[in-house]
């Protein structure tokens, strides 16, 4: 006998093994290679331990005080150190943690902030049109006002964008509430959801919000 008897099971074992391995691969890909995994959760250490929780959350500084280009440009700018110094020449003016900021403002040397949020290549995202038309910062950036260090919480995949573009009514809010990240239609979750739908559909209709899903909306 050339082959031992156990080889009779070999095709079955191999088949099962291949199926398991294949399943593992598919599962691995769906979990680990989507932007939900590769992008969300990214939280680099910044050169200055700036806390959005304190500034935007506790102190209630409006997002646009620092990110002042957000309503005019595709890009939501980072403030120059001179903007920080508007307050910090009075508050915490000798704090060691702010040394980089003071140097930057004095010498005009930029602070190398680490980029957290970035849309994929080939996408032309525009901040101004979103925030001017009732899409809050929170939709893409999460509760930044509760983060000490900014964390990438949403996946920024094409389907993430499309979810909202297909159904703007579920996301749109009054334009004066755009930078109020914790704002809700009601404290009651169920009621808030209903109001969102009712008012959202009204806004979409009244403001002629296009549910843009064609390639040219984002790709040029």
């Amino acid at each position: 006998m050339i082959f031992p008897k156990w080889t009779n099971w070999l095709p079955l074992v191999l088949g099962l093994g291949a199926a398991l391995a294949g399943g593992g691969v598919v599962a691995g890909v769906t979990v680990y290679l989507t932007p939900k995994y590769t992008r969300a959760g990214y939280q680099p250490v910044q050169p200055v331990p700036f806390s959005h929780r304190i500034h935007a959350g506790q102190l209630g500084v409006d997002c646009r005080y620092c990110h002042n280009g957000v309503e005019k440009s595709w890009f939501s700018n980072l403030p120059g150190a001179s903007t920080c110094m508007n307050c910090h020449n009075q508050v915490l003016k000798d704090d060691a943690r702010l040394q980089i900021v003071r140097d930057s403002a004095a010498n005009n040397t930029p602070i190398p902030w680490v980029q957290v949020h970035k849309v994929p290549d080939y996408v032309y995202f525009n901040h101004s049109v979103h925030v001017s038309r009732g899409i809050s910062c929170v939709e893409c950036h999460g509760r930044v006002d509760q983060m000490d260090e900014v964390k990438h919480v949403k996946p920024f995949s094409m389907s993430f964008c499309l979810d909202c573009h297909r159904d703007p009514a579920s996301h749109i809010r009054p334009t004066d509430k755009v930078t109020n990240l914790g704002w809700q239609w009601s404290t009651n979750a169920a009621e808030a959801a209903t109001l969102q739908q009712v008012n959202g559909q009204k806004f979409v209709h009244d403001w002629k919000v296009e549910s843009l899903q064609s390639c040219s909306a984002c790709h040029r």
Binding site: G22, V25, V26, G28, V29, Y32, L33, T38, R39, Y42, P44, N68, G69, E71, K72, S73, W74, F75, N77, L78, P79, G80, A81, S82, T83, S104, A105, N107, N108, T109, P110, I111, P112, W113, V114, Q115, K118, D121, Y122, Y124, N126, S128, V129, S132, R133, G134, P174, T175, F203, D206, W207, K208, E210, L212, S214, C215, S216, A217, H219, R220
Partner: protein, 1061 residues
């Protein structure tokens, strides 16, 4: 009897042929095989899910392999965001800024508004707020931005070829200044190009006062000042003429290519188009010329005449207008002259005669004499004060006794037929390139680009404009003004201060000048003058096969050679020959056959002892025994792009642009020319539709008049999703192109290239049909049908040069770009949905989806899709000319192996760092830079549309005012539309019935190209109307193209109107 068998079938009777033994046997298996479209098993792959599933698994396994290699490093590389330390006021990152400036030309300036991103200029547009301007520009202006980012620009101050510091170089200028201040400028000579800058004129006068013994020469290879010289002579006072084509009803061009090669052509095109609107006023253009030019292509009556016979023609015209007898001109029908003169005289006060820059002074004087006799002066010809610049005659200067010779700009070693006898001790040069001239100079100073300079200029209509910089000099060059101020030993050397001092503007006034881009109310008043010269007597000899005439002309692309290193210009097809990356010896069919030469044969031209060799190109419509030579090629030291392109016609150029007595000799060699349109004939297809003014007056319908071409309309099997999407979309974009206004100048092509980051591909790729222009201009030649057999229309491209029909042709131009078909054939064949429609009727390309099958391009009937065969953006300029494209595996850049460079930085290309840095600066950040393997095409400038929509929506906020409206001027302009000096291209919202484009589409001139394919293009064309004179001997009822169509299609709706008078 019809054969009813299946496709396998052979006729039932007669001889039977069989293709296999089974067929012979007619086995059931064979019959089954025949009826299957695909072999057995092929249809299994048609099942969508299983095929997609297979692809999914495959991509997953590849991706996992990638994970294994890279570890868990799937995240993007860490990047830094660097804000300002001190935030500048009024600057928001990511928004474009616009500045008014101007590009100086030889005899004027083009007022501009330049778009700047993050401090780098990216796009040049005409200043639409400038008086009378429509925002149009010309080719040279559009291409000038690439010159700013040219990696071969002069970057260093050099003495005897060695780098010196800027301070040392400036110190040298100071010593010169002190030296010549002491000896009154003894031994100083300055050679400059012509300029209209008041500041330079002021400095020139200053130098003349400070250094009275210094000599100043102004000389240009292309001498456009002849109009001013002739007018000054003709009217007895220093004046320069401005030709008001917009006021003229009858125009005669005496070899004047005012729509093409003449200076200030964009203004001429604008004015000419304004008076050529059918239904309103429509001018009539007579052209006598030897070369086929754009002006000739736009003519109603074109006389093919040797350039040396234009003088007797002018004399004969003058005689006829003055009531004398029509003197015979060799080869010209006397009736042509008589009727032309009659037409001119009949429009007394509204007629205009222009002589070409190529023509000698006598012809210009004759032209002004005719204008004067026609009462044109003060009407169609305005006289403005001449821009005086004291200049010695370079012919009398031989360099003896000169110690220091200063060359400002230009490239005299290459393009002036002049050389000093004795070399001066110091030759000092301020130049933009380290070119042929720089090599012979002792000191070279890098010059600045006009976008880096402060300056001023006077436009052709006499308005003072300011030149303001958008960027600090990239390589620290000097402006001409600063150089001269330092040479003159002035205390004020800052060019900004010099210009302000010249214009004498206070703070507020200066701000206003910079804001407007020009000095308000600075236009000079016209001068009333009478013709006071005597019209010269001219004698001319007709050229013959043994004594050929040579016509040297300003090239439509490289100008006098200054743009030779500009890749956009080299790759722009010549408006008439459609040739790229070369010049050629243009000859007529008869000349070629008499001399026994054909396209591509290299010939040696000898003209009075001077010789040069170049390839022959048979040009339809050329005058016989006339050789057309474009100047500006054959540069020996132009840079990576321009060196060695074409042949140098300056070698036989002696200063006069038309010279007789040349002979050619075949050298036996042949040469390949890269032409983008080989086919001259429309093959009887009505791609370009034309009519005469009579047909227009009779309301001829240019769509229905050709309706035989259209098959019966069948209802589509599937509903078009666009029809549903249209109902809710805010806009529907569309375009019209008025073929009656379009002169084919090519400005739109370069503007598109600049706006949309279109790469250049090089001569070899062009000859393989791989040019990347999203917008091309098709140029067709048509002829009288009796001159050729119908079958000749379908002739092979290489044989058409021998056919007699090309002797006398009409030419038509048609800008061809993506037609944005509503039922786009390209979309239905894309396997990956990379090209689809959006709700506003745009046929959009998603580059990141494209896998490069090129099916779309195959299925496009208009052939407007372009494929990136190579990674053109990463291809080094030095390899543009080669046939091979090296791979990263074998190629080295800057001495480093490319694969390693790629490993270190995946964005690195095979380009040297200097090229790479500059190309990045030159790109428009709003448009994706495409890579190898991706299809691309015109997008109607979707980035501009989106930007406009975004701005409007951001402005609308919580309101419904989101629609772009023409009445509110919120509808964007496409790059081609904005650049077009004729206003031929109109883009807009076709769902708005009041928009200009909707109105134009209602005209009876409106038609679609290849409408019979039912592609429903959004880009439509307005038929061209010709306005021939019924009394002329060459008058025909219809333009040639219409008769040609009828002949090849066996007569059509308008048969009864056909025929000669």
């Amino acid at each position: 009897m019809k054969n009813l068998n299946h496709n396998s079938g052979s006729p039932v009777t007669g001889r039977r042929y069989w293709r296999s033994l089974d067929e012979l046997a007619e086995t059931p298996e064979f019959k089954d095989w025949l009826h299957r479209e695909f072999p057995q098993g092929a249809s299994e792959m048609e099942d969508g899910t299983s095929r997609r599933h297979f692809l999914k698994i495959m991509s997953a396994s590849f991706a996992l392999a990638g994970v294994a290699v890279m570890g868990s490093g799937c995240r993007r590389p860490e990047e830094a965001l660097v804000p300002y330390g001190k935030q500048p006021e009024n600057y928001i990152y990511g928004t474009a800024q616009y500045f008014a400036t101007a590009m100086p030309t030889r005899t004027g300036a083009v007022p501009l508004v330049v778009k700047s991103y993050d401090g780098r200029p990216v796009k040049v547009e005409g200043n639409a707020f400038f008086p009378n301007s429509n925002g149009g520009t010309d080719r040279y202006v559009q291409a000038s931005i690439l010159g700013l980012y040219d990696p071969d620009r002069a970057r260093l101050f050099k003495q005897a070829g060695k780098k010196v510091s800027r301070d040392e170089a400036l110190a040298f200028l100071d010593t010169l200044s002190t030296k010549f201040a002491a000896n009154q400028g003894e031994g100083l000579a300055i050679l400059s190009e012509s300029s209209t800058s008041p500041s330079r004129a002021r400095l020139q006068k200053l130098i003349a006062t400070k250094f009275p013994k210094a000599q100043w020469f102004t000389s240009d290879a292309i001498d456009s000042a002849i109009h001013q010289r002739a007018a000054t002579l003709a009217f007895g006072q220093p004046v320069r003429p401005v030709f008001n084509f917009d006021k003229a009803r009858v125009i005669v061009s005496l070899d004047a290519d005012f729509l093409g090669g003449e200076d200030d052509a964009h203004n001429h095109i604008r004015k000419f188009a304004a008076s050529r609107k059918p239904g309103e006023t429509m001018n009539r253009l007579y052209v006598a010329e030897s070369l086929f030019t754009l002006t000739g292509a736009g003519a109603d009556h074109r006389l093919r005449l040797a350039a040396s016979l234009v003088a007797p023609l002018a004399q004969s015209l003058l005689a006829a207008i003055n009531g004398g007898a029509v003197a015979a001109v060799p080869g010209v029908d006397a009736k042509w002259i008589a009727e032309c003169a009659k037409d001119l005289a009949a429009n007394h006060g509204n007629s205009l005669v222009v002589a070409g820059q190529r023509q000698p002074l006598e012809v210009h004087l004759l032209a002004q004499a005719i204008n004067s006799a026609l009462g044109a002066i003060g009407n169609t010809v305005s006289l403005l004060p001449a821009l005086e610049s004291a200049s010695g005659d370079l012919k009398n200067f031989d360099g003896t006794g000169t110690d220091t010779f200063v060359i400002l700009g230009g490239n005299p070693v290459y393009n002036l037929s002049w050389a000093p006898k004795a070399k001066p001790a110091n030759v000092v040069r301020l130049g933009y390139y380290e070119d042929e001239t720089a090599l012979k100079c002792d000191w070279t100073f890098p010059a600045t680009h006009y976008l880096e300079s402060w300056g001023d200029a006077i436009t052709s209509d006499g308005i003072t404009v300011a030149v303001q910089p958008l960027i600090q000099p990239l390589f620290g060059g000097l402006t001409e003004l600063e150089f001269l101020a330092r040479l003159a030993g002035e205390s004020v050397t800052n060019p900004h201060d010099i210009v302000r001092a010249t214009l004498g503007a206070g703070d507020e006034a200066w701000k206003k000048i910079l804001f407007n881009g020009y000095v308000v109310d600075s236009a000079s008043a016209g001068i009333a003058a009478k013709f006071s010269a005597t019209a010269p007597e001219v004698k001319a000899v007709a050229p013959s096969a043994s004594s050929l005439e040579v016509v040297f002309y300003r090239d439509a692309k490289v100008d006098d050679g200054r743009l030779a290193n500009n890749g956009w210009m080299q790759e722009l097809p010549d408006p008439i020959t459609k040739m790229t990356w070369d010049n050629a010896v243009l000859v007529s069919r008869k000349t070629a056959s008499d001399l026994g030469v054909a396209n591509g044969d290299i010939v040696e031209i000898s003209l009075k002892g001077r010789t040069v060799s170049g390839p022959i190109w048979v040009q339809p419509g050329m005058a016989d025994y006339s050789l057309g030579l474009a100047l500006g090629y054959g540069r020996e030291n132009a840079g990576r792009v321009g060196t060695g392109v074409g042949f140098n016609a300056y070698k036989i150029f002696s200063g006069s642009y038309v010279e007789n007595g040349a002979a050619i000799r075949k050298t036996g060699g042949t040469y390949t020319l890269a032409c983008t349109q080989h086919h001259w004939s429309m093959e009887g297809r009505p791609a370009v539709r034309e009519g005469n003014l009579e047909q227009f007056a009779q309301d001829f319908d240019f769509t229905k008049g050709y309706s035989e071409a259209a098959p019966p309309v069948v209802k589509s099997l599937y509903p078009n999703p666009l029809d549903e999407a249209k109902k809710t979309a805010l806009h529907q974009w569309g375009m019209t192109i008025d073929l009656n206004s379009c002169v084919g100048c090519g400005t739109c092509v370069v503007a598109c290239q600049s706006e949309n980051n279109i790469p250049i591909v090089g001569k070899d790729q062009v000859s393989r049909g791989r040019e990347m222009h999203w917008l091309r201009i098709d140029r067709y030649f048509t002829t009288e049908p009796s001159r050729r057999k119908p079958a000749d229309a379908f002739q092979k491209d290489e044989d058409q040069q021998f056919e007699q029909w090309i002797d006398d042709v009409q030419a038509v131009n048609q800008p061809m770009l993506c037609q944005m078909c509503e039922t786009a054939p390209c979309e239905s064949v894309c396997p990956v949905n990379a090209t689809v429609h959006d709700q506003e009727g745009l046929n959009v390309m998603a580059y990141n989806r494209c896998i490069g099958t090129r099916y779309c391009s195959n299925n496009c009937p208009y052939k407007v899709r372009r494929f990136n065969y190579l990674d053109y953006n990463k291809r080094p300029l030095t390899e543009l000319k080669g046939t091979l494209y090296s791979t990263t595996l074998t190629h080295k850049t800057d001495g480093k192996w490319d694969l390693l460079r790629w490993w270190n930085d995946p964005n690195s290309g095979m380009r040297s760092e200097d090229e790479w840095d500059l190309i990045k600066l030159s790109k428009n950040p709003d448009v994706t830079v495409r890579m190898r393997g991706v299809m691309e095409k015109c997008t109607y400038c979707t980035q501009r549309i989106e930007q406009a929509k975004i701005s409007q929506k951001a402005k609308a906020g919580a309101s419904d005012n989101v629609r772009l409206k023409e009445s509110e001027k919120t509808v964007p302009k496409t790059a081609c539309q904005q650049a077009c000096p004729a206003g031929a291209i109109v883009f807009g919202d076709v769902s708005d019935p009041d928009s200009q484009v909707s109105q134009l589409k209602l005209q009876k001139r409106n038609y679609s190209v290849l409408e019979e394919l039912l592609t429903k293009p959004r880009t439509t064309y307005l038929a061209r109307i010709r306005n021939p004179n019924p009394d002329m001997p060459d008058y025909r009822n219809w333009p040639y193209s219409h008769d040609e169509y009828e002949q090849l299609n066996g007569g059509s709706a308008e048969t009864e109107k056909k025929g000669n008078s």
